[in-house]
Symmetry: C2
């Protein structure tokens, strides 16, 4: 363990995701906290988590968290809604490191954005089934009406790079038609870290469908802000000024992963910053 | 080990797939060989394989094959094109059980069907990258022209149950536009055991696009036929007349898996015939 406060504060922040979508959260953290060192772990050998059982999600999350905690980190961000929805409490109890999820930040963003008090949630099957967003939103404001819609095709569409044109438009429209049966919804929270790449399309289609402006929010910016607040309150902020390193660890090297990663991250990743590691589960 | 020939022949046949799509092969086997007992293993905790690296596919296939072989089987069918493309030779060398894949049956079906000598292949990223279909087809008839197209969105579409209507039509059309740049293609082989559920749509769209009849073939029927031939030649056929049991083992219980399974299998699966097992990899 590092001995001095300076050494402790210079430790990296861990960011864990089921795959590559969590790099949208990394991007927001690097924009807000450029000096912080980040270690990203994406479980690309087992992605997607959003269609699996809670038991399996928890098993994978435990194994991956163990590996990233062993690297020596000062905090862990679960940059995956499915993991945050299913495993957050368990990981907080089990590991001796502060753990932050993305559900609460997303819920907070939605609650502060809605004017009608009607909020929609687009997420994976597992996140919807967990009820994590309705619980988090209700704990902030119990009068808000919440409607959820599972949107399992959005992740494969985004990974295929189809983020505009006729196919994503039709798919988004079909999910929104189910979600916006409640036409008073004025805020949709994107409950999956992949979805921000479809944000402009979702916002446009939703607003067209209900004939009023629908705001689409995601948790990345708010999660980065809550991480910054947390580090400041605990006096854990990085002592350096230089831009912090980003190291990326993946459990598999899927086809085109470098291009997909760059799309989420908004910056080019040098090949030597991506390391494949084996995690047995 | 069983002592008598009768005991040996009464052993079940193992069928291994990355998920639930291989149940289309089970269906063909049960149609042709109704008396045979079948044990199906679907690695639903790690599906899909088609986007992963060859190393990871091999690692998963080894772990799953070990488990199903330990059950005591007289033959193993790899009802997954990705596994057949990447791991067949390795599994044959490593395990003391006859192993049959689906690539050669699919290639044989395509070669005997084509009249123009131009064959198209729709498959996962990994199966396309492996070159297994071009190799298998060339070894049967080296003059056949082959064109491949990866179609990664078809599996999630099928798992979502969207097999007709505007979205699957547009997605299929986009992949076919790339594949059918060679307009002399008259036969398309479906190189993924999920795809048969989209066969009518693919056949219709392909024929419309090139303005002549395009035959769409899959490997399930031919794979079942080659299994039947193999059992007869080796004198391994089941000695009983009654309809054989089908036992289904899955490594995870995803949402709606019973409905999806029934769709591939074409028969209802009693809940007590589906057992979840844990395979650590």
């Amino acid at each position: 363990m590092p001995q001095t406060m300076r050494e402790r504060n210079a430790l990296p922040i861990g960011v864990f995701d089921s795959g590559l979508g969590g790099l949208t959260v990394v991007r927001a953290i690097r924009d807000l906290l450029p000096a912080e060192r980040l270690i990203y772990l994406g479980d690309t050998a087992r992605v997607p988590y959003g269609t699996r059982s809670p038991e399996t999600v928890l098993r994978y999350a435990k194994a991956c968290t163990k590996v990233i905690v062993q690297e020596g980190i000062k905090a862990l961000v679960l940059a995956c809604n499915t993991v945050s929805a299913v495993a957050l409490d368990w990981l907080r109890a089990e590991f001796d490191v502060p753990v932050l999820g993305v559900i609460e930040p997303g819920a907070r963003t939605a609650v502060s954005a809605t004017k009608t008090g009607h909020v929609g949630v687009l997420a994976t099957h597992r996140t919807v089934a967990s009820g994590a967003y309705p619980r988090a939103i209700a704990s902030l404001n119990s009068r808000i009406e919440i409607r959820q819609q599972a949107a399992p095709l959005l992740v494969p569409l985004i990974e295929e790079g189809w983020i505009e044109g006729d196919v994503p438009t039709l798919v988004v429209r079909r999910y929104l038609e189910s979600l916006l049966v409640d036409t008073r919804i004025d805020t949709i929270v994107l409950g999956c870290t992949h979805y921000p790449l479809l944000k402009p399309l979702i916002e446009k289609e939703a607003s067209t469908l209900v004939k009023h402006k629908v705001l689409v929010v995601d948790s990345a910016t708010q999660a980065a802000q809550e991480l910054a607040d947390f580090l400041r309150e605990r006096q854990l902020s990085c002592p350096d000024d230089a831009r912090g390193d980003l190291e990326v660890r993946l459990t598999d090297r899927p086809a085109q992963f470098a291009e997909i990663a760059a799309r989420f991250l908004g910056e080019h990743l040098e090949p030597d910053r991506i390391v494949t590691i084996l995690i047995d589960v």
